[in-house]
């Protein structure tokens, strides 16, 4: 069965702390995407990872892809309140399969 699993599903962080969200998937793919969704809003593309070893960074977020381990990580550095949102990973296998999402809350 095709699965895309994210963990944790809920994450409460203090501002200034670091943390990592994990995305595991069950079948071969070299295309992985991270999206952000604010409450009541649509999804916004954050990162597109297209090959093994790909690393992308934007501000306090960094995403990486290990296709051999079927694992992607989204690392948060020195979290700030504005990063509070739900983060989804999605895998092209070949139709897009999404993880259940990680709801991140950053507290002052």
């Amino acid at each position: 069965e095709l699965k895309v699993e994210q963990n944790p599903l809920f994450l409460s962080m203090q501002e200034g702390k670091n943390y990592t969200i994990y995305c595991n998937y069950s079948t071969t793919s070299d295309r992985l995407y991270w999206y952000r969704q604010d409450p009541g809003k649509s999804l916004e593309s954050l990162f597109v990872l297209l090959s093994n070893g790909a690393v992308k960074q934007e501000g306090r977020l960094m995403a990486s892809l290990d296709t051999k381990a079927r694992l992607s990580t989204l690392h948060i550095t020195a979290a700030v309140h504005d990063l509070s949102a739900t983060y989804f990973c999605a895998v092209d296998i070949p139709d897009m399969r999404f993880g259940a999402g990680t709801r991140l809350t950053v507290k002052p």
Partner: protein
Amino acid sequence: DAGITQSPRYKITETGRQVTLMCHQTWSHSYMFWYRQDLGHGLRLIYYSAAADITDKGEVPDGYVVSRSKTENFPLTLESATRSQTSVYFCASTPTSGSNEQFFGPGTRLTVL
């Protein structure tokens, strides 16, 4: 307006009624998608289309019908709505080639009573 739009944004209907959700994009993207979002399930693909007159089932197609007579429009029809179809529906599009990054519409919140 440029981009991808959905209408209506909110809809309340009754069990057994037919409902059509509209999606329109101005980028001339070849691929278009319909997803539903339910708590705890992330997004699940209902149908997608690679081009006009080409559609295919996704993960959860039962109870839904799509058509794509024009590249820019991709309507989703619930032929006989059921309560289990209460959800938020997102339309998305992506160009033919490249990264396959998808661009999402604002969503339609559908409630079936």
